[in-house]
Symmetry: C2
Subunit: 375 residues, 2 copies
Amino acid sequence: MKLGILGGGQLARMLAMAAHPLGIETVFVDPSPQAPARVVGESLVAAYDDRDMLMAMAGRVDIATYEFENVPDEAARALASAVRLLPPPEALRVSQDRVIEKQTLASLGVPTPAFRAVDDRAALSDAVAALGAPCVLKTRRFGYDGKGQAVIRSTDASALDRAWQLVGAGRVPCILEGFVAFDRELSQLAARAASGEVRFYPLVQSQHDRGVLRETIAPAPSTSATIEALARGHVQRLLEHLDYVGVIALELFQIGDALFANEFAPRVHNSGHWTIEGAETSQFENHVRAVCGLPLGSTGALGRSAMLNLLGDVPASADVLAIRGAHLHLYGKSAAPWRKLGHLTLVERSGETDFDARLAQLRALVDASIVAPDA
Amino acid sequence: MKLGILGGGQLARMLAMAAHPLGIETVFVDPSPQAPARVVGESLVAAYDDRDMLMAMAGRVDIATYEFENVPDEAARALASAVRLLPPPEALRVSQDRVIEKQTLASLGVPTPAFRAVDDRAALSDAVAALGAPCVLKTRRFGYDGKGQAVIRSTDASALDRAWQLVGAGRVPCILEGFVAFDRELSQLAARAASGEVRFYPLVQSQHDRGVLRETIAPAPSTSATIEALARGHVQRLLEHLDYVGVIALELFQIGDALFANEFAPRVHNSGHWTIEGAETSQFENHVRAVCGLPLGSTGALGRSAMLNLLGDVPASADVLAIRGAHLHLYGKSAAPWRKLGHLTLVERSGETDFDARLAQLRALVDASIVAPDA
């Protein structure tokens, strides 16, 4: 069996490495000849909307999936007309537009932060007047890792003007979202098979820095049964609504016993990287199993895990690997400030007592190597 | 960093998948354009003794290793003259010849079955007279998975003639080995770093069928501290004698509280495949770490594991993956009787009680799919 993947980044690379042991080969479409996945499968170097290349991929695979949600509409439609594309294109359509995404979530009874569509400068003033400051102006489409976002901390016209310029508003449709003073950020991953069977990974706790994931702890510490049930219920309704097949990630804000959905990703997700060593079946393998029509694997955690992103630069491999139980994942990308170049995972194995000490060592290595956007 | 691998079989494939997350890319030399490793690295299609291609590989890698011990002498020497080759070529030289191998082991105080070099038919008669029947006639070189072997069950000249024909003796130097009525077969894997640091995997129990590994249980059940210490001591002396770097496997016969060394493999080994899911660091990752000068990872087991080889044919993936905790590894090879096409691993996680029941299900699937040599 051959699996086509739209995108050849680190998610595609890790999907391919999960696919090979299942006897499933991979074909990628990515515009970069240096895409991280190039070493673990067949690469077609082309723009995502290169219709000829998409058709070429469709012709040589049994099923297709994608590693990012910003697949151009037309490309997804063209591909889906020629080969089965999973998760379903409807999941792409909904997740690509923050307004449609939040409207969909709200219609399913999943609370979201307050929001207003903002199509022009006047609408921004109205929206800020309605939601108050602080609030966040975001592009409706094509945002990721904090890109296309500006926090508005005051209702002054000058603050609005500044945010308006920053996100390039006026040229692209925007959304204003109420600022959520969350206790913490959580992420609920799940896999759904074509049969409708759903398996939930443990709810995890994430920490972002300027819109970029820094660290995930799995399972999320001190989680009440109420919160766990809420998160699973939200994801379950979303999966059923979309008739979803594959792995999904729902990012959530927690305030007390309430959850507010921030956004969902119709794909494997950075907050699930810990599952490679920390769960019985990784998110990558379960995504491949789901889209290829194979039974889902157990999503149980094998212990407490921590996942740290390597941003902008990486520590020396020897320093990382000298720490017992540290697992290194480099993506083969060139360095640039704040770019995700790899991640580290540490899993607490039964009988161990020094997990926190080793995690502190790893954090120190990561902090020393990180290159922030303003550096 | 780039790692060259002589051979592109399943061991090379799994080495490459362990290398990529460490940021290490792989280049293979293999005569087959369909070699299993072709999908996870750069392939150079050439005979192992194609000097030009070996030099081409040497020129584009930082370090080289091999996935099988039957590398032609000249090829290993040519490669080692152009790039650092690990494990050291001396380990290849010793392991390639069953007589030199057993002499070396004996010189290190590692007991072996009784043996005699057999260069002609008269020497075979003398050797059988000395060792008695049953005994095993083997080619000194290029044997693997039971190939180039014949059991001699009677001292009759006709039985000797038959064995003599079977192994192609007369054309190649042979060895006669005393038959060992072992209680069980064990395998001791270890990794040694360039620094001299050694890490031992748990001793495992293996079960062969007509010379081919069928199943490994890790750790080996009911192992005494005496046996464990003996096995580690044997491997430690061998590693030091060879100034070894990388993963090694020593196959052993156990009789009561005694161990007899059958053979060693200067490479990752089938009896270590369980380490992918069953140990903190897999044999593949530790081999890559060792030869690339990185610190070794923990070799601790994460629970009880069973590894079953898929021989000759494979069960339906969906049937395997429907069994909770079953991990499937297919190698992308075409089917042929008794050929190793993949393996399955099951790890007992803490708190589980149905390991044996699930293992029985897996064994039934494997037994139903197996295609033996006489089929």
